[in-house]
């Protein structure tokens, strides 16, 4: 057995037991040797207003179009002479200062759809805006490269389309212990004993059997592995904070999982946007700040890349209800230790050159970000997963 294989096997085996700390230390060495890299996706649902998140505070047009909704110069955390962050994003500013944050501006896709659901589907599936797919981009990653359903885990009660493959679905779980307890009745094992997997997913009943088998084996593995670690970090007391805490526990216990998925809802701010967004951005940034610190303390941050997106941005002009309507292009945050382009990846969008609807024109296709992450970070064939060749970007 060569060294690489040996290291790989021993790290897999040790995950199953409560391992002494010296083995744990050894494991961390192996993971960095083997280049074990994981991806964390955070979805801001509802269409976060990117312009009030990363604010062009020197741009007169911004204040003209948003007379009562624009964030005043004095309320901004300045990143440079022209652009600043929303006041509630202080933890992100720290990541920015450390060189752990890259802001990609004007991300979108051709012929944008301003429907939440359709646009979310487009982001989840990675398809053209006039095509429909039933599988998500991370689900197809699982199809091709995932060893088990738990190669990708969503910390939620249900699974996003992004995490559904053609042949494999990722695992959704919020509480590994409850999940395990529910799944372990021997009755369930006996009703599918010696089941032939091959034809299981053809019809709905087969799909149920297959889901049951996958859930059982993953529940056991996730619970037994993750219970070896607990965090002492104080996470913000909200459901997003809890999600990140569970995620950190999974990561720090060395779970054999490449993709983690979490989300924060409520960004559909047609009315009275200021307070709602203030609260949401605070929840997001405080959660992420704690999460990164937790990973750093456990030596897992260096192998983790965090990507934050929203299905679209909001219209430049504010509406009559102190809110904003659905827009198009938006910013994407990339957080990690190995960024090639720290700070701003590209310039802010032009506010004078808008589309017919008064929305930002997109510059970067979101799928070029996916392609880059798949190819350069997860080290897999991006074309096979995205069904198309996309340009690689230079942020990692």
């Amino acid at each position: 057995m060569d060294r690489r294989k040996f290291l790989k096997r021993s790290s897999l085996a040790s995950g199953l037991f409560f391992v002494p700390s010296f083995v744990k230390a050894f494991e961390q060495v192996t993971s960095s040797y083997l280049g074990y890299k994981r991806l964390v996706i955070i979805q801001l649902s509802g269409g976060n207003d990117g312009l009030n998140t990363v604010v062009p505070f020197r741009n007169d047009l911004y204040y003209k179009e948003r007379p009562t909704l624009a964030i005043s110069k004095n309320d901004i955390i300045k990143l440079n002479d022209d652009v600043g962050l929303h006041a509630n994003l202080a933890p992100l500013k720290r990541l920015y200062d450390d060189g752990y944050l890259s802001i990609i501006n004007n991300v979108g896709y051709p012929n944008p759809v301003r429907s939440h659901f359709r646009s979310m589907d487009i982001w989840h599936t990675g398809t053209d805006s006039d095509k429909y797919l039933q599988s998500g981009w991370l689900g197809r990653y699982l199809d091709h490269y995932g060893k088990h359903p738990h190669s990708a885990i969503e910390i939620d009660e249900s699974l996003s389309l992004a995490m559904k493959g053609n042949t494999i679905n990722a695992i959704a779980t919020q509480d590994p212990k409850a999940f395990y307890n529910l799944s372990k009745d021997p009755y369930f094992k006996n009703i599918h004993n010696h089941q032939n997997d091959a034809h299981l997913s053809e019809h709905n009943l087969g799909y149920l059997y297959k889901s049951m088998i996958a859930a059982e084996s993953s529940a056991k593995y996730i619970y037994e592995t993750s219970k070896t670690v607990s965090t002492s970090k104080e996470y913000p007391n909200n459901s997003f904070g809890k999600q990140l805490k569970t995620m950190a526990q999974f990561i720090n216990s060395g779970l054999d999982t490449k993709v983690f998925y979490g989300s924060l809802n409520g960004f559909d701010t047609h009315v009275n946007q200021l307070n709602a967004q203030k609260r949401l951005l605070k929840t997001y940034a405080n959660g992420i700040g704690t999460f990164v610190q937790d990973l750093k303390d456990n030596g897992t941050f260096k192998d983790t890349l965090i990507l934050t997106f929203s299905e679209f941005g909001r219209r430049v002009k504010q509406n009559a209800s102190l809110g904003t309507d659905h827009g198009t292009a938006n910013n994407v945050f990339v957080i990690g230790e190995h960024l090639k382009k720290q700070g701003f990846y590209n310039n802010m969008a032009s506010l004078s050159d808008l589309d017919d609807n008064g929305d930002l024109k997109f510059e970067i296709d979101f799928r070029t970000i996916y392609a880059t992450v798949l190819n350069k970070w997860l080290d897999v064939n991006d074309e096979k997963i995205l069904n198309k060749s996309f340009k690689q970007l230079d942020f990692i």
Binding site: H116, D185, H192, L205, M212, A320, D356
Partner: protein
């Protein structure tokens, strides 16, 4: 009518059927069975709680102080939970079966949510009132509901600065579907819905001064349209009938659309947009009873939950737990994920929900215990095991189940035939063999076994 076909019909337009009722109906012909169903749903029984305290607060004589607003919110939250529980009870025991099932269907079509209980109760009953009526009247009523004008911001839609939210969802989700209108259609129709609002009591108010009286161009036609005009124009488009019929087909017949069958429904529906007529047509069609449609749909969490409750009446001592179960299963009544509602089909099932679904019947009916006694051996340890399960899981769900009712209903059913009454589809081979190897301790224990199979998730 064939027993199998009556069962199929009742799985789809209801939550299953008990042997006593099944025996009665199978002696009638299809037309009589369908007519029975439709006649029973002619009446409308609104689902209402006592709202006098809220009505007082919203009467206008109280000041709109911070304290009063807070009070309305607190009572509303409590009442919404109560309505959820009352709705579950209604579904499991209604005489107006088709109307109630349709109400459930429309609640996932005209998706809406409001934190004012009076408005959401009114909205909820508007769904029930129009559930089998005329679709055009239905859409117009929905557009004027206080809860809807709040939810999709028509209330903030003013002449000077239109808010497009309602106009967009009206076409995307309520009538036409994505791709059958332009961004300009949205902008112009949003102008037509300006001035829509409501008073404190939740009645529709048209604020003339906020309304844009100018000419609008919508689907190639121009005029000083208001909201009703826009709905009339939208419904002239046959695509609307198609969009609704496809949704009905996926919900009542099959996840996979059969174009010919749907088109025949569209012709019926487009003629007068009468919902009862198209439902009658569907239930009388031979293709509705095709083998490929029987037992091939995955139950929604509510269909699953009500199905259990209908077979074995179960009472939750703590109503909060009933809400918690809905959460775990992925569908809380009156609390949709977003305006597009629940996606349905295979989307109901993921790792979490499948284990919860398999475990739930035993959790709420049998102290979490599923009998595994081998054939030929008496399950002497069963009672001890049950006690053990009760200790471990019993505290999670405090329920009372009425097994006497079950015993009465299934008195004439042989224990070996029980599967034919509990399951809508054939049993998987391995599962069947395993169950055969087990001792059939009692009908009750066997019922729990059957309900713990993936097969029980199908309807």
């Amino acid at each position: 009518m064939k027993i199998k076909h009556v069962q199929h019909l009742y799985w789809r337009i209801g939550f299953g059927i008990l042997p006593t009722e099944l025996e009665k109906l199978s002696r009638k012909n299809k037309k009589a069975v369908v007519n029975n169903l439709l006649n029973a749903s002619k009446t409308i029984t609104p689902l209402k709680l006592d709202t006098s305290e809220l009505d007082d607060l919203l009467s206008g004589s109280y000041e709109k102080t911070r304290e009063n607003i807070k009070k309305v919110q607190t009572i509303s939250r409590q009442k919404t939970k109560e309505l959820n529980v009352a709705w579950i009870d209604r579904l499991a025991g209604t005489k107006e079966l088709l109307r109630e099932k349709m109400t459930l269907f429309w609640a996932n079509h005209f998706v809406c949510e409001d934190n004012n209980y009076v408005y959401s109760q009114q909205f909820h009953n508007t769904l029930r009132t129009h559930a089998l009526g005329n679709f055009k009247d239905f859409v117009k009523a929905i557009s004027k509901e206080a809860a809807m004008t709040k939810y999709l911001n028509t209330k903030q839609n003013r002449k000077q600065k239109p808010n497009e939210n309602f106009a967009r969802e009206l076409m995307e989700l309520f009538t036409l579907g994505v791709g059958h209108y332009t961004e300009d259609d949205i902008k112009e129709s949003a102008r037509a819905f300006t001035g829509y609002s409501h008073n404190l009591q939740g009645n529709f108010v048209f604020r003339k001064r906020q309304h844009d009286e100018g000419s609008k161009t919508f689907f190639g036609r121009s005029g000083n349209f208001d909201g009703d005009d826009i709905i009339n124009i939208i419904l002239e488009n046959k695509q609307c009938a198609k969009f609704i019929c496809e949704k009905m087909y996926r919900y009542f017949v099959n996840d996979i659309i059969d174009e010919n069958h749907v088109n025949s429904m569209v012709d019926v529906f487009y003629a007068d947009y009468n919902i009862e007529n198209v439902m009658r047509y569907m239930m009388l069609s031979n293709w509705f009873y095709d083998e490929k449609n029987i037992g091939t749909k995955i139950k929604s969490p509510i269909e699953f939950l009500i199905g259990i409750k209908y077979t074995v009446p179960v009472n939750f001592k703590n109503p909060k737990q009933l809400l918690y179960i809905q959460k775990l299963l992925g569908q809380i009544l009156l609390n949709p994920p977003n305006v597009a509602g629940w996606k349905g089909g295979r989307n109901w099932i993921d790792s979490n929900t499948i284990v919860m679904r398999l475990k739930l019947p035993s959790l709420i009916l049998n102290n979490a215990y599923i009998s595994k006694a081998k054939k030929g051996t008496s399950d002497t340890v069963m009672e001890t095991k049950k006690q053990g399960f009760k200790k471990r899981f019993g505290r999670h769900f405090k329920t009372e189940s009425d097994w006497n009712y079950f015993d009465n209903q299934f008195r004439n059913v042989d224990i070996n035939d029980l599967g034919n009454y509990i399951l809508a589809c054939d049993m998987n081979k391995t599962a069947g063999e395993y169950l055969k190897s087990l001792s059939k301790v009692s009908k009750q224990e066997h019922c729990v076994q059957l309900m713990s199979l993936p097969e029980y998730q199908m309807c």
